[in-house]
């Protein structure tokens, strides 16, 4: 080494960190919807999307307006919502109870986990005729189908969540002499709540799918019946109006769960 060696130019260290941390960008979701709908509107008006393929978004909106004005919207929506509420509530609450039992008791786990695994992959829609025989053609069979469909994913999410509760917190509860019931109520259930709620998101989406399936088979009013009727007449505007209602229902349920999460799980972040 001598003084004659020319020192190379300093190079700035290249930044290579960052990323992998998605942030909430509030208006992006809306922008995507607006963009897609705008493309469809321009396409159907311009004629390069034929009216047989897709209806004009503005026509769908008009159909929606008619539904609203004629009062038919609520005539269809009210029974659907009550079916969803009753069926979903029954399925989710039994699912949470069974999931907690599986999470806490060895015998419940050994006996019920294989059963749940056997039931889970059955397409519940395939059982609809069976439910009609068991519970009749009226509301009960619809409640049963929706409840059955929400039950299995809720069970799986709940016992997974109970398994993930920090054991050191449970040991702490025992070391302070807390009763078994107190440990379950004050440590296990709140600790499992994040997992239970994220399971509920999936269960309720499944409940909407099954709602439509149940209503396609023998229901006078309901979103499913409305869509089925529109579909058999190839009335694409009404078909899409129905589909939009279902999507909105999904978005609303997901928002409600998000709200509950913020209320109950504020301690997380």
């Amino acid at each position: 080494m001598s003084d004659a060696v020319i020192k190379p130019e300093p190079i700035e260290v290249r930044f290579r960190g960052g990323g992998f941390a998605p942030k909430s960008r509030r208006w992006m979701g809306l922008a995507v919807f607006v963009f897609l709908i705008a493309i469809l509107e321009i396409g159907t008006r311009g004629g390069w999307i034929s009216s047989l393929t897709l209806p004009k978004p503005s026509d769908v909106l008009a159909t929606f307006g008619e539904l609203w004005e004629s009062g038919l919207l609520f005539k269809h929506l009210a029974p659907s919502l009550s079916r969803l509420a009753v069926g979903g509530a029954i399925g989710a609450s039994i699912g949470i109870v069974v999931g907690v039992l599986i999470g806490l008791f060895s015998y419940a786990r050994a006996g019920l986990v294989p059963l749940v695994a056997a039931i889970f992959p059955i397409p519940k829609i395939a059982l609809l005729p069976l439910f009609v025989i068991w519970f009749g053609i009226d509301e009960t069979s619809k409640y049963a189908l929706i409840a059955f469909g929400t039950f299995t994913p809720t069970v799986v999410a709940t016992y997974g969540a109970v398994d993930n509760v920090d054991r050191s917190l449970i040991r702490m509860g025992q070391s302070f002499g807390l009763s078994w019931f107190s440990i379950v109520r004050k440590i296990v259930l709140p600790g499992a709540m994040p997992g239970i709620l994220s399971g509920l998101r999936i269960s309720l989406a499944i409940a909407i799918i099954l709602l439509v399936a149940a209503e396609m088979l023998g229901a006078e009013y309901g979103i499913g019946a409305y869509i089925l009727e529109a579909g058999s007449l190839y009335d694409l505007e009404r078909l899409f109006a129905g589909v939009v209602i279902l999507s909105l229902l999904g978005v609303i349920l997901s928002t409600v769960i998000g709200f509950i999460e913020r209320r109950l799980l504020g301690w997380r972040e």
Partner: protein
């Protein structure tokens, strides 16, 4: 209340972790358990508090716990074990609720233990807002709230940085000086042992046996960081443990 360990042995499956340990924990004294990693000192602590059952031998309580004692054997854990969804106040009231202490009576106890651990201003904070040292002070406050006869402390300062550890050691000494409590204090940090222990029990590596019991007579309040006589004791302890610690470190884990 004293604690006596009567010939405790313990095994997990075929692995013997503790062999024939007899020990007295006298009232109002802090007994430190030190030993190389994996010597079963935390297991021994779980046996003392009844969180695990010894394969052989018995743990005995001698005498009755003091009046007003809700939970005679009370743990302070290394990972704090605070409920993240409850505030500081809620975490302490958790251990009172089951004893039917609610409302004003609970508030009085909580205010008292929070002021003793210098946490009065933080009663509404959630655990995630607190530093490690503060979390451990909350855990200590929670332990004090049930007026324990014996505190079982499982490496309470090991998850903290060295400055926080010094501060908390001073806090523990101050707490003990104000109101002398009985404690079994498990640690792998010999400096903590010589600062806080009246009696230091050195365990051998697995299967853990009592190798030596060192008594330190100097009062806790007169001890400080870097005292020459404490340094000597610490060196003596380290000489006892060094070879075992190395051998333990090189062991394969198959527990």
């Amino acid at each position: 209340m004293d604690i006596r360990l009567d010939a405790i042995s313990h095994a997990y499956g075929g692995t013997e972790v503790l062999r024939d340990i007899s020990l007295d924990v006298p009232d109002g004294k802090i007994v430190c358990l030190v030993g190389p990693s994996g010597c079963g000192k935390s297991t021994l602590l779980r046996l003392i508090g009844g969180l695990e059952r010894a394969s052989k031998g018995r743990v005995l309580q001698l005498g009755t716990p003091p009046e007003g004692c809700l939970n005679p054997l009370t743990y302070v854990f290394q990972d704090f074990a605070l409920l993240p969804w409850r505030s500081v106040h809620g975490n302490i009231s958790l251990v009172l609720e089951d004893h039917g202490i609610k409302g004003e009576r609970a508030n009085a106890i909580i205010q008292d233990v929070l002021s003793r651990t210098k946490l009065t201003d933080f009663s509404t904070a959630l655990p995630r807002q607190l530093s490690g040292g503060m979390k451990q002070r909350v855990a200590i406050a929670r332990a004090l709230a049930v007026k324990p006869a014996v505190m079982l402390m499982d490496e309470p300062l090991s998850a903290l940085d060295s400055q926080t550890r010094e501060l908390l050691m001073d806090d523990l000494v101050a707490l003990w000086t104000r109101q002398q409590f009985t404690a079994v204090y498990v640690t792998h940090n010999l400096a903590e042992a010589v600062r806080l222990g009246h009696r230091i029990v050195v365990l051998s590596r697995r299967p853990g046996q009592v190798r030596e019991i060192v008594e330190i007579d100097k009062p806790l309040s007169e001890r400080s960081h870097g005292d020459a006589d404490l340094e000597r004791t610490q060196k003596h302890l380290w000489d006892l443990m060094r070879d075992e610690a190395r051998a333990a470190d090189e062991e394969l884990l198959d527990v």
